[in-house]
């Protein structure tokens, strides 16, 4: 069986009339941690949204394969059910729906299995403890009144609960203090195993100090212009993206 989870070939995508992704290629295997870095507006978040088929973005060309199957035209929920998860840069607030109910509902939808309330609650409590989330948040409306850091930790909680094959973390580390980044990294470490993969989208490098990364890609102007092992991140931290930009 193939080891490849995600394969993106020559992907072009627009927001409205504006072309953002311009022939992007990417391959992620099981057990790998990838990082995509790049300046603002390069198309990092667009990539995450296009993989999940956010209707706001139009795919113009290219294909996205997940476990060997083309998922270009699948709806977002169907893609999620295949095992792709995205941690949002700004998670949405859902008044009146508690974290617990939401997780229960999402888990049921993703797995198609009935959720056993008691053991599920125990599982959530355990994760919340690991992520330093106050267990009282279980009964609070999803993301309503949460601080930036709490929202991000809640995304990681969802990742652990839904246990996807591929987790895309879109700027999960941005705006977090050092402790919160450590907590988020701990969650990622808990999640990581040889059968799943992680794609981290970031413009900072702090989170990379906490995690072992297999590949770092530099995304500039809608294309991946350089791929390398972990050290590339340090170089970018010091020198920026200037040398990758077209003049």
């Amino acid at each position: 069986m193939s080891n490849t989870l995600l394969e993106i070939n020559n992907l072009f995508a627009n927001v409205g009339e504006k072309e953002i992704l311009k022939g992007l290629n990417l391959k992620i295997n099981k057990g790998e941690v990838h990082v995509i870095m790049g300046p603002n507006g390069a198309g990092k978040s667009t990539l995450a949204n296009v993989i999940l088929n956010n209707p706001r973005y139009d795919k113009k060309d290219g294909e996205i394969l997940f476990e060997g199957e083309n998922i270009n035209d699948l709806k977002t929920d169907e893609i999620a059910k295949r095992g792709i998860f995205m941690s949002f840069q700004s998670p949405e607030e859902i008044p009146g729906i508690s974290v617990m109910n939401f997780l229960k509902y999402a888990r049921h939808n993703i797995t198609g299995e009935p959720v056993k309330i008691f053991s599920f609650k125990e599982e959530i409590k355990k994760y919340m403890e690991e992520l330093n989330i106050n267990p009282k948040y279980m009964d609070r409306s999803l993301n309503v009144g949460f601080s930036g850091g709490e929202k991000k930790k809640n995304e990681i909680l969802q990742m652990l609960v839904l246990n996807p094959k591929l987790a895309i973390l879109d700027e999960t580390d941005s705006g977090l203090d050092v402790d919160a980044i450590k907590t988020v990294s701990k969650g990622i470490e808990m999640f990581k195993n040889k059968d799943n993969a992680i794609l981290i989208i970031t413009h900072g490098t702090k989170i990379l100090e906490e995690l072992k990364v297999d590949y770092v890609h530099v995304l500039v102007d809608g294309r991946i212009v350089k791929t390398s092992s972990g050290e590339l991140a340090e170089e970018i931290e010091e020198e920026g993206y200037r040398k990758y930009r077209k003049v």
Binding site: P55, I79, F85, F88, E92, I94, N109, L162
Partner: protein, 467 residues
């Protein structure tokens, strides 16, 4: 795997059971002195009530239709039978209720709810109450819960003292109409200091096509007493207009508490022009909880008159306007004494071209010093075809009040739907979750089975709107 929905599907739900129009007596369509006299004769009433009806008819003929709100042009009183007496007599035993009527109430879950979670039940079918019963211990405590016809016979003095005193026939045209043709409804008296811990419920079912329902609910909660009263209503859908012009009069005495909950799911051919009012005395409290889902047009603005020092009211309401529905609902409060307080929490949802309007009146009189009023209304539109509006009138005649009004009108954002879909929810499930969450502050105020019913109604409404 994906669940398809068809328009027909909505019509197969329990609310739409249509029984044969199997009445014992149906008044001629239209409105005239002769018809009113005949109704009164059929009901074998005392003279003062017959006179009252005729006076109300005169008032009806004098008053104009409202010049604001949804158009009522479709209403043609000459096409409406105002009185339909079902077969059988009122009973306190479900086995004695005619089979077709009983099976309707069975499907609506009324006898089941009675066994499980209610202290008493009244069930009205078309113009008359067919079943009324209450637990023995409440009878022993002196609580009275019966139909209005029985009350008029057995407690004539109390009825005469209160009947249409809280809501006078001069209030508006449809109150006058109600005064002329009223029939059925419930009468409740809770004696001083008695705490009715389990709710009483009256359910109103209109089966007969081209007819009206005009039930009268009169509740008196005496000093220091407490009651939770639940009202439910529904009807199957017909092609022609049906009319509901009920009247609810609530008297909440000193230190008394009344919670009045309503789940209304009239069919989409119903004009719902209902009037509800409460008079609250010193340190008394009336709480309204209302879910409006049905009807073609609703004009419904429950009103609290805070007449005694320290009287309180809370209004918690939600309305859901779908295709072809114009729901003009809201709340009115008059602060007429010092230290009174009111809290309003209203929500509306509109979809598929539905119109949801929140219309309110807050009146704080000069003597109502140190009163508080806080109003919050939120509207959610599920698509760009739907409309929502907020029309508050605030008439505040003293400086010494705390008053706040907050209104929010919004749409379901595509971002939120995308977020939920990325967690494995289909678009329909995502919308339904957002709406359920939006409605939650209201549904949590309802008894649990009604909260479930409300969620089912929301899901039912959403299914019909998508696909």
């Amino acid at each position: 795997m994906r669940r398809k929905t068809y328009l027909d599907e909505i019509n197969t739900n329990i609310y739409d059971i249509k029984n044969k129009d199997n009445y014992e007596y149906k008044a001629k369509k239209g409105l005239s002195k002769e018809i009113i006299e005949e109704i009164s004769k059929q009901k074998n009433e005392v003279q003062w009530m017959r006179d009252f009806r005729l006076k109300a008819l005169e008032m009806y003929n004098k008053l104009e239709l409202p010049t604001w709100g949804p158009s009522l042009d479709e209403l043609d009183m000459s096409e409406i039978a105002t009185y339909v007496r079902p077969k059988g007599n009122m009973t306190n035993n479900w086995d004695d209720v005619p089979e077709d009527i009983k099976s309707t109430f069975d499907a609506l879950g009324i006898p089941e709810a009675e066994k499980r979670s209610l202290a008493g039940v009244g069930a009205q079918y078309d113009s008359e109450v067919v079943y009324h019963s209450m637990k023995d211990e409440l009878i022993k405590q002196g609580v009275i819960y019966t139909d209005m016809e029985t009350a008029l016979r057995d407690y004539e003095d109390i009825v005469k003292e209160h009947f249409m005193k809280c809501v006078p026939i001069s209030d508006h045209k449809f109150v006058a109409l109600h005064g002329a043709v009223w029939s059925g409804g419930s009468f409740v008296y809770v004696p001083k200091g008695v705490d009715v811990k389990i709710p009483l419920q009256s359910y109103f079912r209109l089966n007969s096509p081209e007819s009206g329902q005009f039930e009268h609910t009169l509740i008196i909660v005496d000093e220091g007493a407490r009651l939770h009263f639940i009202e439910g209503c529904s009807a199957p859908k017909y092609n022609k207009i049906n009319l509901h012009a009920g009247c609810v009069e609530l008297f909440v005495k000193k230190n008394a508490y009344l919670r009045y909950s309503t789940i209304e799911n009239w069919s989409k051919n119903m004009l719902n022009l209902n009037t509800k009012k409460a008079i609250v005395e010193e340190n008394g409290q009336i709480d309204w909880v209302t879910g409006s889902f049905g009807s073609k047009i609703s004009m419904l603005y429950p009103m609290s008159i805070l007449n005694g020092k320290g009287a309180k009211t809370e209004f918690t309401g939600i309305s859901f306007a779908g295709k072809g529905q114009n729901l003009d609902t809201g709340f009115k409060v008059v602060h007429n004494a010092p230290n009174t307080s009111s809290v309003v929490n209203s929500k509306s949802i509109s979809k598929n071209g539905g119109i949801a309007t929140y219309r309110s009146l807050v009146q704080i009189m000069p003597r109502a010093k140190n009163s508080k009023c806080s109003v919050s209304c939120e509207s959610l539109m599920l698509d760009s075809l739907s409309k929502s509006d907020t029309i508050p009138v605030n008439d505040i005649r003293t400086e010494e009040v705390e008053f706040s009004h907050e209104a929010k009108i919004g749409k379901i954002s595509d971002k939120t739907i995308f977020y939920l879909m990325s967690r494995g929810l289909s678009e329909e499930e995502a919308k339904s979750m957002i709406v359920r969450g939006f409605a939650y502050p209201i549904s949590k105020e309802l008894p649990v089975e009604y909260a479930v019913e409300m969620n089912n109604l929301i899901n039912l409404e959403l299914e019909g709107s998508i696909g």
